[in-house]
């Protein structure tokens, strides 16, 4: 038996002004799915962070005139999966450094905070990278343990 899923998809040009639309989109779905206020905020913030990374970095130096961000939300019986997808230059997930926050703060440097937040806020984070084709960050929040 296949699992019943509801899918919602958003396709937007890469502009920071669209972060608001992305947040409202995922927050509304998370709300309808029955997540608590606190978890709706966590999901909203994690997706904002992943989307900000795409908008700021994914297409840097690329000439493509199709610079879009896709946000795909899949509602499973036990979890909400949110994919943030682009077709930009991609990156090596192994090179992502999760900062040691105490050392990081001592050095008073900015940037890189988003990756740490995503990992802290969500139950699972996976990367699938095909530069120029499809780069995907999948973030999962389970319903039962929340």
């Amino acid at each position: 038996m296949t699992e019943k899923t509801k899918k919602f998809q958003l396709k937007l040009p890469i502009e920071t002004a669209n972060l608001e639309i992305i947040r409202e989109f995922v927050a509304k779905i998370a709300q309808n799915t029955g997540f608590s206020e606190e978890n709706i905020h966590r999901i909203e913030l994690a997706v904002d962070e992943a989307s900000t990374n795409v908008i700021k970095h994914a297409y840097k130096g690329t000439k493509s005139d199709r610079k879009y961000i896709f946000v795909i939300v899949s509602n499973y019986s036990d979890r909400l999966e949110i994919d943030v997808v682009d077709s930009g230059r991609g990156f090596d997930p192994k090179q992502i450094k999760i900062p040691e926050m105490d050392i990081y703060l001592k050095n008073m440097k900015r940037g890189g905070l988003g990756i740490y937040l995503i990992k802290t806020l969500m139950d699972k984070v996976e990367y699938k990278i095909k530069p120029g084709v499809k780069n995907q960050v999948r973030m999962v929040k389970y319903k039962a343990i929340n």
Binding site: L19, L45, D48, I55, M101, L105, M108, L113, L121
Partner: protein, 116 residues
């Protein structure tokens, strides 16, 4: 449309920035500009009042990180007050309370600067 607004006032030698609305990668540059204006005036005693701030992402937190070194190197400080629980939680997740002083009221922060 979600709004973001910055209001500035002067309390003796202290500059207070009141930020309201949604602070994300889209609105962070506005906040950064206002903060930078104060620093350019060589005022290094700053309170950021978050009363009225409904949302913050790491882009907003990055603004605080970007200026604190210069402020402290000049003998000043940036103190934060009046954060709603939802907003404070984001600062807390990233360990900011170990680097910045947080107050629940603007007056307490002013007092810490020696202003009434």
């Amino acid at each position: 449309m979600e709004k973001f607004e910055v209001f500035r006032k002067e309390m003796g030698t202290v500059r207070v920035l009141n930020i309201q609305g949604f602070l994300d990668a889209h609105t962070a540059p506005d906040f950064e500009n206002e903060l930078q204006k104060i620093i350019d005036e060589k005022s290094y005693r700053i309170i950021v009042n978050l009363d009225g701030l409904q949302y913050i992402s790491s882009a907003g937190l990055g603004v605080f990180m970007g200026v604190i070194e210069e402020i402290r190197n000049n003998g000043g400080d940036l103190k934060i007050c009046c954060a709603a629980p939802k907003v404070f939680k984001v600062f807390d997740l990233l360990g900011f309370p170990s680097l910045y002083e947080f107050y629940d009221g603007e007056e307490k922060a002013l007092k810490k600067f020696g202003e009434k």
